[in-house]
């Protein structure tokens, strides 16, 4: 594909001309991801916003190989690409699945589990915008409690917490799994690099604000991503071999109200409901810290697994 002569860099691999919405968190994440992944990448995309964003035949806004495939098949599809590359003797290619939360938490969970359990040498990225956005904002099992969607008109019941997908994947004991956000680009890049540095099944859960679906201003995409992390709503962690958990960005546990206020999908919440969301965050962090501390002794004795590379925690550095 022709390269823009005046500017080498991410523009070669993503855009311009992608038809995602202005301020799309997924588009931003894909751009940042491709910067790290580089041109020797095969990307697979199931039914989701990203499949539309790359553009309609005969154009593509993505400069690497892309296979668009059926909704529920990401785990299997990337396994198939990797198997073919192995059989064909093609080395040095990263195989990356790029699926939404619907295609991962819900309909694609089985194929994800299959690929994770087989430890196929692939990188599965789930960009999590917390509902079926491409079809017009229907709830998914990634939708946070309290959030309005077109199928939870009164807000998703608070008794239905967001599925802890990272823990589910970690329970497959895959070599590397992490949660990340484009609002923390250094952490984001570090985790993509860390994922690339190991072989086997790697899983990245990318928090991906969706201004139209969250009923938010397009300009606030990064701000929302940042607030989700600093407020503790979306922890940035990594876990190796399903056992060694590490928090990479310590939240300040502030800004929850600002986070909720910026989004129309939470506009209906009462103070009591907000308090329950806050309590849910506390509980989530209690569990998380217990996991971090529960690093197995047997593994330490055996010295299994390489040292966790240091990921600079951030708030991005001062100007």
């Amino acid at each position: 594909m022709p390269v823009r002569p005046e500017e080498a860099g991410p523009r070669d691999l993503f855009g311009p001309g992608s038809v995602n919405c202005g301020g799309c968190g997924m588009g931003l994440s894909l751009k940042l991801a491709l910067e790290v992944l580089g041109p020797r990448t095969i990307l697979t995309i199931p039914a989701c916003c990203a499949a539309v964003s790359v553009g309609a035949f005969p154009v593509s806004a993505v400069g690497v190989s892309v296979l668009l495939h059926a909704f529920e098949t990401t785990g299997a599809t990337i396994a198939g690409v990797r198997a073919a590359l192995d059989v064909l003797g093609v080395a040095g290619v990263e195989v990356v699945g790029w699926a939404g939360d619907g295609g991962t938490y819900d309909i694609g969970l089985q194929a994800l589990s299959g690929a994770a359990e087989r430890n196929d040498d692939v990188l599965y990225v789930c960009y999590d915008n917390e509902a079926y956005m491409n079809t017009g904002v229907q709830r998914s099992s990634a939708t946070p409690p309290g959030a309005w969607t077109s199928t939870t008109p009164l807000g998703k019941p608070l008794e239905q917490p967001k599925k802890d997908l990272l823990a589910i994947v970690a329970a497959h004991h895959v070599p590397y799994a992490a949660s990340l956000s484009a609002a923390f680009p250094e952490d984001f890049r570090a985790k993509f690099r860390a994922a690339r540095a190991v072989r086997g099944f790697r899983f990245l859960l990318v928090h991906s604000p969706c201004p139209p679906g969250w009923r938010a201003d397009a300009k606030d995409t990064v701000r929302l991503g940042r607030l989700a992390v600093t407020s503790g709503v979306f922890p940035l962690v990594e876990v190796r071999h399903g056992r060694r958990w590490r928090i990479t960005v310590e939240p300040t546990f502030s800004g929850l109200d600002e986070y909720l206020d910026l989004q129309g999908r939470f506009a209906h919440l009462t103070n009591e409901q907000r308090a329950r969301i806050r309590a849910g965050i506390e509980l989530q962090w209690e569990e998380l810290r217990a996991r971090v501390e529960a690093r197995p002794r047997a593994e330490e004795r055996s010295g299994a697994g390489q040292a966790t590379p240091s990921v600079r925690p951030q708030v991005p550095s001062s100007p």
Partner: protein, 769 residues
């Protein structure tokens, strides 16, 4: 497309159609952008006809909707049941939600000559004479109406209901049916109803524009034969042909702003610039930047009251950047630039006074090639810097080094020459091309209270001058200093060091908060043991029979309403007179100008020009602002005025390094999430007992000036921090060699760059820009 026989010909008649040319509306098309509510518009129109008993079909363009991207809605109307299930290709009327769409979509596609076009536009239909020749065009300023009724924002008005009202009027519906349709489609229709009725009332009737329609040529088909098509849908080219920039209703622009520190600096220092260089480790460059505007960074780095720090946006986070300490750091660590004495331009300028204003004027003139002679009445140069400010605040070697720098330009300082007494201004005017008068304020302002001239009563400036000239001023055992300014504080500090008993009291008629002295200096002398008596107004110096000072009679005050200076005015408390015992009183209650000419010379409003040709004035002699920084700024302006008067290229004394300086950047525009909290560096201070042993400098230097400079947010300027580039989701920010530009072909105007710029460099402006 065969639309079927003569079916459903009888539609509603557009009200504005002439009777002769009755125009049946059968098929309607609505253009808008994703998120503008075009679907609601077509639903409302369908509802109108439905209420009227017509048969209708209403449908969107079947496809993917993206916010900002062009979208369409359709309505088909008939008196008969509608059999047609195909899409609409040849509408009878078209309504357009935003004028900006006209450049992106052929809104007249399929519209027959004479077809109706309703545009959301503030312009009359005739404006579109050339563009829509051959069509019937009506306009309504639906966006303005929407905003009047609180629908949407200026950058994204929700104009659908106002446009709906306009359409309903053109189609001959009543106001009541408009309201009914809104009632049926909306949960809370009040604002929309008002907007629709205003659109109804204010639509400009359709005008048939003369001429024949211009049709853009239809693009060639992408594929002509089955064989040209690939076996499966794989991409054949990149997406650069998809101009997503057309979705945009607002665009980002890079606009540099003035940093508040700079705006507030009386010397006009590029504070942000020198801190930026220092932060980057370029301390030499930082010094160069400072020397652009001031020859006295070492002085200002010690004695400036630093109003820049009062304005620093960082106060909102964790305290102002320690600009003064950073300036001192730069003056100490920066390598002296190797000044090449500029080629002489043959002009000679006399500067009267070698205080900061005179030195500043001499510095700026010397750098522009003038031969400058500075006349100084005192035996040594420096003016107040030498004779007013105690050495524990400003070591004399610091001053000497800066004088040497100025001298290095070839500026000559003649000390011991009192202009006005030893040589007249007239003589200077004769001998020099220009004269800059920078004599400061040498006269003591008198309070006019009894006993002011008693033995043991002094005036502050005279006291300091005598002291600094080494003339052995007597300091009593119990000293009272009257005043709240820096002179009072300096006098108190000197007295403390000279007095055997160290019993020094400052008496001030307002409270400490109102003291004009630099707060740190007040803190410092209070630490050292000076007492402060607030809210005491001197009434008289009490003397004994021998005429010696024995006390100060004061009146207790309380704070009333604010006065013209904004400070609360002290008002006497009745019956509160009392005497503070002392054996010495120093009045530090202000200074007065004493200009070196006898007759009246007027100073112009700019504070620089005078009524004498080629005679200029600057510093305290002109403005009376009383700070070194103000004197430096004033001296520079005087130098530039001289330069201009003598035929030099005009220079703007204001900040001038950025092309688009429009406004001061305030803290609301700072993106604090990008600023890591970092406490302000405080310079070390000598212990009190050490201080009182002499005149060693009290305040030290900060250890890491660069670290402190990194606290500077660089408000309003681009630091190439990359955030706009990194966070643009498109990507539509182009970065080349550390500079940035927006790729407006593809920028969707989402505003993430605007929101994420840490220092407010990016603004969003409405399209079309």
């Amino acid at each position: 497309m065969d639309r079927g026989g003569g079916e459903d010909r009888a539609g509603t008649i557009l009200a504005e159609s002439s009777a002769r040319e009755a125009h049946a509306v059968r098929e309607l098309r609505f253009h808008g952008r994703g998120g503008q509510g075009v679907v609601l518009l077509s639903k409302l129109v369908a509802r109108l006809y439905f209420q009227a008993g017509k048969h209708v079909k209403e449908f969107p363009k079947f496809g993917v909707e993206r916010r900002g991207a062009p979208v369409e809605g359709y309505v088909r109307v008939s008196d008969q049941p509608i059999e047609l299930a195909c899409q609409i290709y040849e509408p009878d009327a078209v309504a357009v939600m935003a004028e900006s769409i006209l450049d992106q979509v052929d809104v007249t596609a399929g519209l027959q000559p004479g077809g109706m076009l309703l545009l959301n536009s503030p312009h009359p239909p005739e404006t579109f004479r050339s563009r829509f020749a051959g069509f019937r065009v009506a306009t309504v300023d639906a966006s303005a109406i929407a905003l009047r009724h609180g629908l949407g924002t200026p950058l994204a008005p929700i104009a659908n209901t106002a446009l709906f009202g306009a359409f309903a009027r053109l189609a001959g519906f009543s106001r009541e049916t408009v309201a009914a349709a809104l009632q049926a489609e909306l949960k809370r229709p009040e604002r929309d109803r008002r907007a629709a009725l205003e659109g109804y009332a204010s639509v400009r009737p359709a005008v048939l524009l003369p001429g024949t329609p211009q049709r853009p040529p239809s693009p060639p088909p992408a594929f002509r034969t089955l064989e040209e098509l690939p076996d499966l849908a794989y991409s054949l080219r990149d997406a650069r042909g998809v101009r997503t920039g057309t979705w945009r209703s607002q665009r980002p622009v890079y606009r540099f702003k003035v940093a508040p520190c700079h705006a507030r600096c009386p010397a006009g220092n590029d504070v942000r610039g020198f801190l930026g260089a220092l932060a980057a480790g370029a301390v030499d460059r930082a010094l160069e930047i400072l020397l652009e505007t001031s020859p006295l960074p070492g002085v200002c780095g010690r004695v400036c009251p630093h109003p820049c720090e009062d304005e620093c946006n960082r106060i909102a986070l964790d305290g102002a950047v320690a600009v003064r300490a950073a300036e001192r750091f730069v003056a100490e660590r920066g390598a002296e630039p190797r000044w090449e004495v500029p080629p002489r331009n043959g002009r000679r300028v006399a500067v009267v006074g070698s205080g900061p204003a005179g030195l500043s004027a001499a510095w700026q003139l010397g750098r522009r090639g003038y031969r400058v002679v500075v006349f100084e009445a005192a035996p040594e140069p420096g003016g107040m810097l030498r004779l007013g400010i105690p050495a524990y605040r400003l070591p004399r070697e610091v001053l000497d080094r800066e004088l040497a720098r100025i001298g290095g330009l070839g500026v000559e300082i003649r000390c011991g020459v009192h202009v006005g007494r030893d040589v007249g201004v007239e003589a200077l005017v004769r001998d020099y091309d220009a004269v800059v008068v920078a004599v400061g304020q040498q006269g003591d302002l008198r309070l006019g209270i009894p006993g002011e001239d008693a033995p043991g009563a002094f005036h502050g400036l005279s006291f300091l001058r005598e002291h600094h000239l080494g003339r052995g001023v007597r300091v009593g055992e119990k000293v009272i200093v009257i005043g709240g300014g820096n002179t009072a504080v300096d006098v108190a500090g000197v007295c403390l060091r000279e007095s055997p008993t160290r019993d020094v009291t400052i008496v001030y008629r307002r409270s400490r908060a109102e003291m004009p002295a630099i707060p740190e200096e007040v803190d410092q002398i209070l630490d050292e043991g000076v007492r402060l008596v607030e809210l005491a107004s001197p009434l008289a110096v009490e003397t004994d029979a021998a005429g010696r000072v024995v006390g100060l009679r004061c009146q207790q005050m309380e704070l009333g309403e604010p006065d013209g200076s904004g400070r609360r005015r002290p008002v006497p408390v009745a019956g509160s007179e009392h005497v503070l015992p002392c054996d010495q009183v120093v009045f530090a209650t202000g200074q007065a100008r004493s200009l070196p000419w006898a007759h009246d010379v007027e100073i112009a409003a700019d504070g620089i020009h005078t009524s004498l040709a080629n005679v200029f004035v600057c510093g305290d002699a002109s403005t009376g602002e009383g700070t070194v920084a103000a004197a430096i700024g004033s001296g520079r302006r005087a130098a530039l005025a001289v330069h201009r008067a003598l035929g030099g290229r005009p220079e703007v004394p204001a900040p001038s390094w950025a092309p688009q300086v429009e406004e001061i950047l305030r803290a609301e525009r700072i993106h604090w999430a990008h600023v890591e909290p970092q406490p302000r560096s405080e310079p070390p201070r000598r212990a009190v007992e050490q201080r009182l042993r002499g005149y060693e400098e009290v305040v030290g230097s900060i250890a890491d000036g660069a670290a402190e400079a990194r606290r500077c947010i660089q408000c309003g300027t681009c630091t190439a921090c990359d955030r706009c580039f990194v966070f643009c989701p498109e990507p539509a920010v182009i970065r080349r060699h550390g500079t940035y530009a927006f790729d407006l072909e593809y920028c969707k105007g989402c505003g993430v760059c605007f929101e994420e710029c840490p220092r407010g460099v990016i603004d969003m402006v409405e399209e079309p820009a």
